[in-house]
Symmetry: C2
Subunit: 411 residues, 2 copies
């Protein structure tokens, strides 16, 4: 074992063989591989035995549930209580296998083409670094986080709570990039980002390409990021360059962005037209259905949550995370009786801004017995986390407090 | 090379042989090993060739300057721009070699004795976790950070800017622990913490023991922490349990705390009585000199700062970090002409609270030439970062903006 290799190098080397290794296991992974659903009563690991893929080998294995090479979840008990998710515990979700690790050889030279502007041009990351500097703490959350709780068992990864994390991205404001490109061309309605994934020959690009459009309003706080939690953005999270669309589900924050376009129409890619649409159960998504864009308020309890680890009777600190979606989380309530009664929880630690989540805690005095712990949050606009999920075909945007409740035993 | 080992395990295994390995290099390291001073004009690595010690082998080697086994500095160009310092880039400074790694085998069982209270008792970490939950983002900074700029070459590590970082610690408020111990006994004036280092037989404990007293006012926001940046607190940073005294220099935040005492007098340990005292140059510290406790306002520029890497002419984002000490940093100014003229810089990213530092940026348009970049901050109480250092024998608390200026070449 070679101990004196630093983590960045480890990431790079680990990634070098990754694309090849996984390609040999079945080529390009398509969106939403199906895995075994987790049961609600036991939201623990569903596939603990799968190894981490090479490009994410540097993750803390004990903290992760590996659903597939492109879908890796954070364990509910592994988030910590600091508000910020450590990078080696942050979930991974790729719609298509990552590009070759060689794109990280010279991150400063990575190019992004900018179009739909007065002066279309390309920028290297090094050039972007001269245009401005911005950091934003965001909840990065997969559109399908909580899918595992839908009773109709939608196809796709059966995430419970761990396809989410709160991290700080640093880069340049999209607005500064737009200004450097002479401003937006007339008549544009969407900001469309294209990922740098390799599209295999012989496949209709539209069926595979990772390209998402969001309304222009989403540009307000968007950045092109080269850093996360103070580290150079690793390949697993979209390095060398990723667009971060705060408040929107993860799929909209395109990794290894190679093209940023201001467009009149939404992307023709399948991932925009038919996937990530809010369609009724049993009905395939179409452009007529709402696109999965903004996130709603949501909270859940992380500790205690391990059904196999009995909690000692007496004082118990019940803690979790609360996000407000497009507006800051304002209040959180906790229930220990499955939602029959509620108590005000208090926020813990620094406020990282409206797109971040906040740690909360409620102190209870628990006698031996079983308890059903739940939390619900309300944001500064008065939007409340609902009791019930909104049913939809693919199991997107589950923010039901009831689904996220956990049973614990106190002894 | 075994790739599928996670970082926590790696930390643990790396630590296992650490104490032995370094002990064989000279036993217990005493305070402030002397290393070669860095020159002001080239604040780069002074000892890049030394390996990371085993207990800190998991650090990002490229980001660190290893002065000695117990003094490891963050490179000026490695802080990132996100406000939070990644754990694998955070500096390390131990007054005495860390305890055996075996103290991390069962962190929940680590005990801290609490005395000077109405009901003296011990608490395990698991018990502390039932008493409360608090997070605080702090600048952890060695008292001697910036010592390398003192012209009289004080003994001790020749730190430049990198014996500092901003991280989020999570634990229980000291106040909650005090309440659980029945409150403070009468007549106490100090909060005194003792580290869990092993004191070799045959040495007068007072000359080596790491025990520090701070005024009771420092208890207000102090916590006993078991987590940092969302991860279990590693041995290198004081795990299983460390007291965090926000706003105070690092030496006051005792690692592997085994005893928390409320006392009438300051600790009799040498590290309290004579070390970490603000004495005139040439005069040894005594209890008559001020103790090194609270930190003053300070800022410095991190990027660009590499004298070997010429900056491209044109727009340049000049960025760095600013801390306010006991009160939040309120404003930062940047100079590109060595302090002849100043420009308002703007803060970047989330505000992590008054004890944290904030990233700042000033956008300049630079023609080819040489520039001397400097920054100075003022906190919410109007306390200003001074031009000159306050001379003192051991080179503590250097917050001179002039000392921290950097020369860059624009081509």
């Amino acid at each position: 074992m070679k101990e004196n290799m630093n983590i960045s190098r480890r990431r790079l080397l680990a990634s070098a063989g990754g694309a090849v290794a996984w390609a040999s296991l079945g080529g390009v992974a398509m969106a939403d591989d199906t895995t075994t659903p987790a049961s609600k009563s036991n939201p623990g690991p569903v596939s603990a035995e799968k190894p981490l893929p090479d490009y994410a080998k540097w993750k803390n294995a004990d903290s992760m549930i590996v659903h597939s090479a492109n879908t890796i979840e954070t364990r509910r008990t592994a988030f910590g209580s600091s508000g910020i998710t450590p990078l080696d515990r942050l979930f991974v979700r790729n719609n298509v296998s990552p590009p070759a690790a060689s794109i990280m050889d010279n991150p400063g030279a990575w190019q992004v083409e900018v179009s739909g502007v007065v002066k279309p041009r390309s920028f290297t990351v090094d050039e972007l670094k001269t245009l401005g500097l911005a950091s934003v703490a965001v909840v990065m959350q997969c559109s399908g986080n909580g899918r595992g709780y839908f009773p109709h068992k939608p196809s796709g990864t059966q995430w419970t709570v761990g396809a989410a994390g709160c991290v700080v991205f640093t880069g340049v404001p999209v607005k500064a990039v737009l200004a450097a490109a002479g401003g937006m061309a007339k008549g544009m309605a969407y900001m469309t980002s294209t990922g740098g994934e390799t599209i295999p020959a012989g496949i209709d690009a539209k069926t595979v390409m990772v390209e998402r459009s969001v309304p222009l309003s989403a540009m307000e706080d968007a950045i092109l990021a080269w850093e996360v939690n103070g580290e150079p953005l690793p390949l697993a999270h979209g390095g060398p360059l990723r667009i971060i669309v705060p408040g929107y589900t993860g799929v909209n924050s395109i990794k290894y962005i190679k093209h940023l376009a201001f467009t009149k129409e939404q992307s023709p890619a399948n991932i925009q037209q038919n996937s990530y649409r809010f369609s009724p159960v049993g009905v395939k998504g179409t452009p007529a259905h709402d696109s999965i864009w903004e996130m709603p308020p949501k909270s859940w309890i992380n500790l205690p949550s391990d059904p196999k680890q009995p909690v000692k009777a007496g004082k118990v600190q019940i803690s979790g995370v609360a996000m407000g979606g497009m507006h800051a989380a304002k209040t959180v309530e906790v229930s220990i009786d499955g939602g029959k009664s509620w108590h005000a929880a208090k926020f813990v630690g620094p406020d990282l801004g409206k797109y971040a989540w906040r740690e909360f805690v409620f102190q209870a005095d628990l006698k031996p017995g079983t308890y059903e712990l739940a939390s619900r949050t309300t944001n500064t606009k008065g939007q409340k986390q609902p009791k019930e999920r909104l049913e939809n075909n693919r199991g997107y945007i589950n923010n039901s407090w009831l689904d996220h409740a956990v049973k614990i035993t106190v002894a």
